[in-house]
Amino acid sequence: GQQVMQIPQYQHVQEGEDFTTYCNSSTTLSNIQWYKQRPGGHPVFLIQLVKSGEVKKQKRLTFQFGEAKKNSSLHITATQTTDVGTYFCSVGTSYGKLTFGQGTILTVHP
């Protein structure tokens, strides 16, 4: 089945530093979604990318979909303590099934 690799597994940053997590697939993806899960919470949808080379921004978050549609990244500028959590990428099929990566756990030190 579909496999995605997320790196890094953990990231510790000081508040105000930037953060990036990467999602890689060996196969071409139809779309990719990003979710955030706070400690003790459930995954919450952030964004979906569909087009090759697509870039979307949400305030301090920037999402990119690679030109070959095999990788994606999530970048947070000037992290805040509210950014703490696990960030998952998930890749979708045409009928809506999602396969989640293992996630990147972000810790922000004040």
């Binding site: 139809s30 009928y95 809506g96």
Partner: protein, 119 residues
């Protein structure tokens, strides 16, 4: 708009016992998913329903797990008998998307989950 509801929120059972989880998706959402999330891992899809039909149950351990979505609305997931390795959070999610609709409908809305501990 009400979110995805799940119950119970927590459950502790002994191995070989049975347990059932309930999920009520967002009204009008055609697709319902059950995920298993073991601590430190990403959610793993167990079963996907579209209305009351099963779309994908390839990762459901069918010798002990069962799920149904009667009338295409709410759903139950059952484990019988439970094993120690079933300890996890069981997440229900729903999506407005169905086969053939634009991918923009694929966003999944997750419920709060049921934390299962098997002793």
């Amino acid at each position: 708009e009400a979110g995805v509801a799940q119950s119970p929120r927590y459950k502790i059972i002994e191995k070989r016992q049975s347990v059932a989880f309930w999920c009520n998706p967002i009204s009008g959402h055609a697709t319902l998913y059950w995920y298993q999330q073991i601590l430190g891992q990403g959610p793993k899809l167990l079963i996907q329903f579209q209305n009351n039909g099963v779309v994908d149950d390839s990762q459901l351990p069918k010798d002990r797990f069962s799920a149904e979505r009667l009338k295409g609305v709410d759903s139950t997931l059952k484990i019988q008998p439970a094993k120690l390795e079933d300890s996890a959070v069981y997440l229900c999610a729903s999506s407005p998307g169905t086969w053939g609709t634009p991918s923009s409908y694929n966003e999944q809305f997750f419920g709060p989950g049921t934390r299962l501990t098997v002793l």
